[in-house]
Symmetry: C2
Subunit: 226 residues, 2 copies
């Protein structure tokens, strides 16, 4: 190991390509599955097949994080998983709030995957007075006794609860306004489910999930090769 690669591992100053970052969670999940069936060492080809990519890509991606493998052998599953968890910032748990307790919001709460991957939903907000006060701890994926809050004091609540990430599952008409309030609540990462481009300060991280866009992309390809 050169002092140069030591640099990479310890300081993390190296720029990791955005597309590599979005594959890291996939690798991490594959390693969990490998662990679960007792695999202790894995090579780039095996990992690639689980993740749906190719061996060269896996090696390149992982090399951005340091020299994590052993030549002639492969990667230690437990060690690599730990490393990825750390890099992804899910070593400790992350505090997440959900805004919008409609049909979509409700289904998000029911998804165990968030909890299993290090995310705790610590608050749920909704405008609708009928929904406010509803108990939402039905799955063990959220803390006992969590109830839906009014959005009235959302800025203060988000600050008090030290929320880092917000899942925004509100109608598109109100998404921009709610996003701005969320930012005033000290949150700088938003997972947006509304089909609108949010305009927010530079420093705020936004990722959007839009299923109907994906459907339309499928439709496009169907139109010419189906």
């Amino acid at each position: 190991m050169t002092s140069d690669s030591e640099q990479k591992r310890t300081c993390g100053c190296e720029r990791v390509p955005e597309q590599t970052v979005s594959r890291l969670p996939v690798y991490r999940r594959c390693l969990m599955q490998a662990s679960a069936i007792g695999v202790q060492v894995i090579n780039s080809l095996q990992l690639a097949q689980m993740a749906g990519t190719n061996a060269a890509q896996v090696r390149k991606d992982l090399s951005y994080l340091g020299e994590l493998g052993t030549r002639g052998i492969g990667y230690d599953v437990a060690a690599l998983r730990g490393h990825l968890s750390e890099v992804l910032g899910v070593g400790e748990r992350r505090r997440v709030a959900l805004i919008g307790f409609g049909r979509l919001g409700g289904s998000l709460l029911g998804y165990r995957g968030f909890f299993e991957r290090g995310f705790d939903i610590v608050a749920v907000f909704d405008v609708d007075p009928v929904r406010v006060g509803t108990l939402v701890d039905w799955h063990g994926a959220v803390p006992k006794g969590l109830t839906v809050r009014s959005i009235e004091h959302i800025e203060r609540d988000l600050l008090d609860l030290d929320v880092e990430i917000v899942m925004l599952a509100v109608p598109m008409e109100v998404a921009q306004v709610m996003a701005e309030r969320v930012v005033r609540g000290g949150v700088s990462a938003i997972l947006n489910f509304a089909p609108v481009a949010l305009e927010l300060p530079e420093h705020v991280l936004v990722r959007s999930v839009d299923m109907s866009t994906d459907l339309q992309v499928l439709s496009y390809h169907l139109s010419r090769q189906g």
Copy 2:
């Protein structure tokens, strides 16, 4: 207009970059919004601002589809929207089936956006006998009287119903098997909500939606700039 650009428009043989394709639905949605407030002509900068990109990108993207604008003026909103609908293959309606009527599947059915964008959910399947037979036409987004079907004869049902696209909202453990059955049902486009890489024949189109991956990407960036 040159005979060369005429080629593009009529034959559609030009290869459109994948990333451009995934922005087309966004442009289409923005044009709908523009129409709704009475805008008849729009230029690349305005469209870019609505879509969350830049003017050069918009012009480049649209130029792959032909010469759709008027120099010195901009783009005709209605004409461009129609063109995008056609290119995206949502000129006529698309027949979609949902597999998995759990929490996520249920919330997908409640989303009007699919219907509004040209997709009709013509069938819902689930393994759970308790759910089979449930009436799901609660929103007008699906045909009157639609009930949950058993997956027992899903291959035959998909063929009979002429389903083109499947939304796969089942637990990850059964996703691969269900995907294979879906393909045997003549479907060649799948929107996959399970966090696994589906291994399917070359000709099958797959897009995956994985919210926990997006959360982890946000977490990564929070860890180093937050």
